[in-house]
Subunit: 334 residues, 2 copies
């Protein structure tokens, strides 16, 4: 149990979706994790998302010594000061707002601070990265981005297609995030992002969370820490070190039925394998240097070995996300 104040630097993970348990919360404490943005929705509608919020309320009550619900940058500073791990809610899809722009404020009230405009497929707002065509933001998409800007719900385009992502960056009056993806120049997965997207994201003040999900890594589960951190250095050259952080996409201890849900939701009767295949349909194996929340120290060391200064490494490990939270989670300036 950790009940003493935790010193900087901050460690902030831009995305996790673990099979939450006391063991994982203990690993977060042991790894010094200040905060994680956790997914509470892939395809769930409002009511189902609220059930997932409610499940977190129970965890906060039961594990109040370890966890703190983060709604603001100040909450994150408080989690750090109290030696707890802050938890930020986010949705990987726009399904919680259903067809209703008015639900943007409702989900913000419930604590959501990130929402992807689309998840792999076409949504009512934008196009996902697995569609054959990408027409950009829809009529409703433009309305919703404006409303997200107003209330302080961050646009996340991690699973969206290229044109939709560029249009979201352009349409949004506040910086957006790509919470979990890597540069395509390093590993040309469909989910990784082009130089055009990364440059536009950085120029608009946005933030990229570098992913540790094997399908996003060069060499997948065999990717080396050195390769990952060298990629981070090249990305910092492209975007500026203030515009990158981590977004591990850690899905620890999830059964393979969960990745089937992520990919198939309720939209198809044929099985979709997403980044996997019929032969390798389950969750892929994590690299051995990042298997759980204890392993952030490996990355911090790897960043230093790749040439980042201590100050730069601290920004990537969490300082940039902290600054982003502080300027993004409240209502727009009048």
């Amino acid at each position: 149990m950790t009940d003493s104040s935790r010193e900087p630097p901050f460690i902030v993970d831009g995305l996790q979706y673990c099979n939450w348990s006391p063991e994982i919360f203990e690993e977060m404490a042991a790894g010094g994790v200040s905060c994680a943005h956790v997914t509470i929705c892939y395809w769930e509608n409002l009511r189902e998302t609220i059930a997932n919020v409610s499940a977190w309320h129970k965890r906060f009550e039961r594990h109040g010594d370890r966890l703190l619900h983060v709604r603001t940058g100040d909450d994150l500073r408080r989690a750090q000061a109290e030696g707890k791990t802050g938890i930020v809610f986010g949705a990987q899809n726009c399904s919680p707002i259903e067809d209703d722009v008015g639900l943007v404020q409702v989900v913000h009230d419930l604590g959501l601070r990130f929402m992807q405009l689309s998840y792999n497929n076409q949504s009512l707002l934008a196009t996902g990265c697995y569609e054959a065509e990408d027409p950009g933001l829809t009529r409703m998409g433009r309305q919703v981005v404006k409303e997200m800007n107003r209330v302080g719900l961050v646009v996340d385009m991690s699973h969206s297609a290229e044109r939709s992502t560029l249009e979201a960056i352009d349409c949004s009056e506040r910086p957006i995030a790509i919470t979990h993806a890597n540069p395509a120049f390093w590993h040309p997965a469909l989910r990784n992002k082009s130089d055009d997207v990364l440059k536009a994201l950085a120029e608009s003040g946005g933030l990229l969370g570098l992913s540790l999900y094997p399908h996003h890594l060069k060499g997948k589960g065999d990717c080396t820490l050195e390769s990952f951190c060298t990629m981070a250095a090249r990305t910092a050259e492209l975007m500026g070190v203030d515009h990158i952080g981590l977004g591990s996409d850690l899905c620890q201890n999830q059964p393979d039925a969960v990745v089937a849900w992520m990919r198939n939701g309720r939209w198809t009767k044929d099985l979709d394998y997403g980044e996997g295949s019929a032969q390798a349909a389950g969750f892929p194996k994590q690299p051995d240097w990042f298997a759980c929340n204890r392993d952030f120290t490996n990355i911090a060391e790897g960043l230093t070995a790749a040439g980042f200064s201590a100050e730069e490494a601290a920004k990537i490990m969490g300082g940039n996300w902290l600054a982003f939270f502080e300027r993004s989670f409240g209502p727009a300036a009048a």
Copy 2:
């Protein structure tokens, strides 16, 4: 009250959304209306659509002497034989199936026989006619069309955009419908259809319901019966007389708040005026020769005056819809 058998020809309206009342049901009887496809959903989700279905169940119970719920072509023949007006349910949007391909069979079980893949805007399935871009059917759209084909839920593309419509015609293994629209060659409204669409629809065995909604008419509310029926003759030349019927889009006695709901749903905070304008935001005035269900005789006479034979006019007035219902509302042949 009409309780005697009604003789052919059949009068079938491919779309109505009136503010239903005993007076309107009496007008349907007086006008000899065999059947109307009635809208039970614009933006409603499954639960809300079911409430609208339930409201119809109450009407069927209260007005059993006038109305009959039509699920099959045989039901329509029975309505005609009993001198009643058959009612077919349909959705103008795919919102009742939410994000769930499994709900296609559920809504068919509830009596829905038509479902539009999109209504003006981008949906999860296809693009609406008011979007700037039309990428065609989505991944989910292709899954849903296959499932609609399987159970016998007719694809309706009345409010969809051009490419999506052509792809729906191509993707669907059973004929589709455009229940309420006119040819753009006659009146180039955004909602009216190109020659390419009309030809592809006819070649695939589909059916076009000619609309009497003023925004779809040349001259709007001042359109003459002669102009409308001459257009019908030109459309029959283009598509073949077996591929056209009526789809009046009659919205009798609806308050203007209803057209605001149709246009704005819950997707926008800015007001959208659709085919109207800020200066003319409400329902437009009907042509005086088609103000209510009593007026189908005017159209039958107009078709004859425009050169259609009695047999051809009977097809357009209802015979074609009857044949379409008979081959479309049941499960696909094994």
